[in-house]
Symmetry: C2
Subunit: 411 residues, 2 copies
């Protein structure tokens, strides 16, 4: 059986944008990432043999960046001229994936990655792509060749329908955000290639998968994730006030590192209400826009428009990236709602790269500790909250979190 | 039938290193390149249908650099940090191949490329790869599938023998210079891949083919060609003295553009004796080394060692790139002769990428005019001289050319 991940570029581009910032500023911070299956009733450890999982993880530890992959990163200038600096590229040149810890834990796996942040950061997407693909390989393993053909036929027809619908809205733009939850690497490649061939570049604007961006000549997409805020709270953990300040520190660091090019702020780590209290007028004016990743997208967009207008900023000059469990109908609904009022685009994940007719999984790998301090994500959907319950309670207080929106996690 | 060239990177790297210098300094200089078949008794225009040739040339006119190809070039730093500048990359981004002129001319083709130097420069290698591959397709077209299999088997065994011999000399390093005279694009890909898998990178150091360097994660190799000297003579054509000075002007421009990283001087445009009279002690001290492309390689190497020693320069710190019609035995002979006395490496062309058992062709596309002035290459083998006979006579006088070495052109 082929290995699932064969290039260290087969990961989300934001691992590199975050990775460089971490390398420049927080490289030695000790962190721990942990795997979590948020989908109930899927006995992963019984479906996926431990040796298969180890085989895939071990293979990644043998990979290194080749010359052309480093050329590709060095040549990235979509978000600012030559945004990856030589010190970081030199680091990547020598880089090998650090250790992982894996053990069976009842029906699931305990899978953790500990180490300096600048190294441990790269496991998240690889681990998720691998577990997803091994899960679907397990589901498919009992099928005849023809039954497998039928699965791919279903996939193709669903993709066909998506394209037909999207062609009716030529100003609706989107990109692939589906690396971590893809059915398989091959399926993501297929979907991205078809989208890049069938749709104009003004509509299918790129992919978060760096390897596929390189392979198909697309723009690599992505900026940053919750882990930046979460780890920073663990770095500035001395007092509640410091934790509160850590939120804006991330935004300041990011702006210093990349300026306007990558200035899309993720809003929901501690709830959007806190984000809008914390995001200064100057930041709102400078930053390109916001990313919405949980809660109600329409409500979020309305809040954002109000926020900008109340600061005397024209929302039409700002961008919202919606990225929470989208499908075509949801995208069209959001697009029509905000058309002409604020710029929007979509980061389309699971439903793009894993729409085969199978149930999809909600798996995450999240930072759980930095300097031994427990980390927390609240999000705009408390069902998506992460952290020890006492830490969640504490962070709710620190960030004045009041929402009670609670909805089964979209995958 | 598949097209032969499908990427504008499927060309020799030196087209980009020269291309950038030309773009920065001489972009509008009107030049003319012309195709010439130096192999007697090969009726190209009877073997290759004109419509097939046009189909391939026209296809290249439809190509443009994609995003990843531009990343690759932007990310090139093997010869100096980020050596391709944004203005040149922007030019390439918009670049389309200019017109060509093709007509049947008895048994051969008249094939010319006129235009500003910064655009016409890119046709040479494409035209040569295409004519070579169409020629071999014509030779193979009457064969049965099994006869074709036998051709590839012969190729594989010859490659196997090469590798076996080269493994006995682990300090003998070489790279692929065989784009323009390859049997086929697929064969060059095969040979480069096999070499990169079978040989250590210290021995097989890279390929001149930019696309294959990118595809296989190898170092792209190459610096500059005779055309830089030839066109410069047409630019500085006012007096014999100006023409003489044009030789060193090329070296000065090159150093200004790239510094040490790409400082390998091609020595034989007007004969190596003139080169060593013109190459100043300061240049000899600064430049990394020399490239030998005609005449007797051993004699050349001895001259180079004498030259360096007479200037008080240690030849062991200098490098000679031999690139004139090499095969394994020739490389081993040269390597053993100079081992420990001067650093050497090999640019291996036709015999690497076109060793199938067929006769090989000596085809060239050379600059014939700049500003309407006739251009000349003398070389260290007068059989390789190019230019109108009256111009050759004049240039011999200008450059004090006295050699009478004359040998059938190696291909």
């Amino acid at each position: 059986m082929d290995y699932i991940v064969n290039s260290l570029l087969d990961t989300d581009f934001y691992k590199f944008t975050m990775g460089q910032l971490v390398f420049h500023r927080y490289r030695a911070v000790p962190v721990k990432y942990a795997f979590k299956n948020r989908t109930p009733n899927i006995p992963l450890s019984r479906l996926i043999p431990e040796e298969n999982l180890r085989r895939e993880l071990d293979h990644i530890k043998d990979l290194s960046f080749n010359n052309s992959e480093l050329h590709y990163l060095r040549g990235t200038n979509e978000y600012g001229e030559r945004m990856f600096k030589e010190d970081y590229l030199q680091f990547l040149k020598e880089f090998r994936m650090p250790e992982y810890e894996l053990e069976k834990n009842g029906d699931t796996y305990l899978l953790e990655f500990s180490g300096p942040w600048s190294e441990a950061i790269y496991w998240e997407t690889f681990a998720l792509s691998i577990i997803n693909e091994l899960y679907y390989r397990a589901l498919m393993s009992g099928m005849s060749e023809f039954e497998k053909d039928a699965v791919y036929a279903e996939r193709t027809l669903r993709l066909f329908e998506k394209i037909k619908l999207l062609r009716q809205y030529p100003e609706l733009s989107y990109c692939d955000f589906g690396t971590r939850r893809r059915f398989s690497g091959r399926n993501q490649d297929y979907v991205v290639r078809v989208m890049s061939e069938e749709m104009p570049r003004s509509q299918f604007v790129g992919t978060s998968n760096t390897y596929l961006a390189m392979k198909h000549g697309l723009v690599p997409m992505g900026t940053s994730a919750h882990e930046t805020f979460m780890v920073m709270s663990g770095i500035m953990y001395a007092t509640d006030e410091d934790i509160r300040k850590s939120h804006n520190k991330v935004l300041q660091d990011w702006w210093e590192e990349y300026g306007w090019g990558l200035s899309i702020a993720l809003t929901d780590t501690y709830g959007t209400d806190y984000f809008f209290r914390d995001f200064t007028e100057e930041q709102a004016r400078n930053w390109k826009g916001l990313r919405q990743d949980s809660g109600d997208p329409i409500e979020f967009g309305e809040k954002a428009i109000n926020f900008y207008e109340s600061r005397g900023i024209n929302p039409k000059e700002k961008l919202i990236v919606f990225s929470d469990g989208l499908d075509v109908n949801e995208m069209i609904k959001i697009y029509l709602h905000f058309k002409g009022r604020i710029r929007i685009t979509f980061g389309w994940g699971t439903n793009l790269t894993n729409d085969m007719g199978f149930k999809t999984l909600s798996l995450v790998v999240k930072t759980v500790e930095a300097y031994g301090n427990g980390l927390v994500k609240l999000s705009d959907n408390i069902a998506k909250a992460l952290g020890r319950s006492e830490d969640i309670a504490r962070f709710k207080k620190i960030f004045g979190y009041e929402s009670d929106f609670n909805q089964e996690c979209k995958s």
